[in-house]
Assembly symmetry: C2
Homo-oligomer: 357 residues x 2
Amino acid sequence: MARLTIKDVAKMAGVSFQTVSLVLNHPEKVAPKTRELVQAAINALNFIPNVAARSLRNISTKTLACVMFNGSSYDERSERIQDTHYNNVLQALTRAADRVGYTLLQRNLMSDDAASLAYVRDLFLAGRIDGLIAMVTVAGHPVLSELQRMGFPCVIYGMADPQFHHVAQSDRLAALSVVDHLAQAGCRRIAFVTGPLKEHSSEVMRDQAVTTSSEARYLGYLDGLDKHGLPLRSEWVASGDWSLDGGYRAAKQLCSARQRPDAIFLGNDRMALGALKALHDLGLHVPGDISVVGFDNMRYDDFSIPSLTSVNVPMYEMSEHAVRILLDCIEKRAPAGLVQRIFPTSLVVRDSTRVPN
Amino acid sequence: MARLTIKDVAKMAGVSFQTVSLVLNHPEKVAPKTRELVQAAINALNFIPNVAARSLRNISTKTLACVMFNGSSYDERSERIQDTHYNNVLQALTRAADRVGYTLLQRNLMSDDAASLAYVRDLFLAGRIDGLIAMVTVAGHPVLSELQRMGFPCVIYGMADPQFHHVAQSDRLAALSVVDHLAQAGCRRIAFVTGPLKEHSSEVMRDQAVTTSSEARYLGYLDGLDKHGLPLRSEWVASGDWSLDGGYRAAKQLCSARQRPDAIFLGNDRMALGALKALHDLGLHVPGDISVVGFDNMRYDDFSIPSLTSVNVPMYEMSEHAVRILLDCIEKRAPAGLVQRIFPTSLVVRDSTRVPN
């Protein structure tokens, strides 16, 4: 089949090819109605504009977009500010972008559908961004797949999806190292609090190719129990939602099990802070009665009571790599193929876990 | 004097007036060298383009910029993520922008000088943003003054500068209400930990027209001591920097005073968390030995040990007003004159302060 041209799009939309060109290059100059007609034809034909030709004559916008698909940098339910994972990543990406003289354009609450695709594509076509850093919650993300086919520079932050350029942390190995540490300290009844899991993945498959952080940390926990011959009990696994409240509730629930765990490993630090409070309210001593471990190595881990053992994720370093990979793509310095970097984590032992024997 | 036109600019720059028009409306189409010549002439003549005429034919970009002058949304010194005030405000502004279908373009580390002015002006002139929300650390900010003269919609978040549209919280009254609460609970030796103060303002003037949050909270503390006839002692005032470490150090310092305070009021919650840790390390009981109060009412105040008495600042509500005022300006619905809103705060009493008598 011959490659589609803007004449095919023009024919389908019933407009001149000059109008299609205008929609692609200066959409702001086209009446909304005409623009919609042309966009509909572009979508129907799956037309891919010649991005390389466009970028040759465009000057750089020095702007990158950071888009969170199906996520938010704020707590939509609360009227009070709290730190969120996305917010932390944004903080790190903002610093990485600042360091190379780029501005960040951020967009929350993007769905996985055609409207999001049109929105992001238009940012590129209107010459308002040079590249995209995406945070996603599903593998093979449909919007990213389309953008990649169209030749727009995109990098995923936080999920090791083999289809795309990405930076991610080694969640599963990190979780294994937490169980190693707890087992060496003599803990035998190790409980786990997950992040949010998708409906269908309450039974996370160990051989699944792409996992979310929440799933991978759970799998690493299972690996650790296996390795040390420790029991897995359903009453020692609670589902959380990354929040302070979620950690508080989960810890109370786990402590009401017939046999109380002697350690709780929570999928992030916020939940771990909530758990420390719950154990304090129950009159339990940390780590004498029960050890607690978080994940992220947030600055406040030094200041919790007791200070919190956690997994360090090199967010700033990862963000700098994500931006570097993106700039390489934008400036055509990228090698052929995909650039994929998995960053090692490290366990930071503080006062919330017992000293290993 | 006759109003300057683009012909005056053209004459000075030695180019045609069509070129000047192109620089104003499509700077990306002009060679960098020519553009610089024209910008230099615009700057030298202090030429104000006719923004109203421009916006009539431009469609909305549905993008707002959030710029922090002399500030940052991240800790530049640390390799670890921590929540910052700016980050919290960004979170709230992002939500407010999302709710009205706007995207936020954020820029950190902007200085107060001509380079920043040129940067922000170009965002407007290139049709990349519709309006600006600014966070500033000085009154009568030179960049904002220029942008306002040029007719670009700007709103200040967080400082009650009478020269501009703004939203801010009533810091001074809030601090007074904290001292009221502590005095009613029987505290007589109330210490205060400031945020960063400018060099020249170690002696904050009580009659100064425009104050930063850090200064206003300190003045409210002084008002409270006056009102309740409580002593002001220099050994009970420590300077902090809004950080966890800063609060930790300040609390230790205050507790080494010849006479130990019976209450510490810290200018924000992060410092208060650091102080709780310091008092714990010193073996002091909160609130039995000493009461602690923060400021901001962050979500984690419920989960600190003990939970933290704090001042609620309605950041989400303030952000929604900031965005609304800005949209009114953009869409020419704004009444004549400046729109300035000061939001009341409220004290949220938790376990870190003694029950009032």
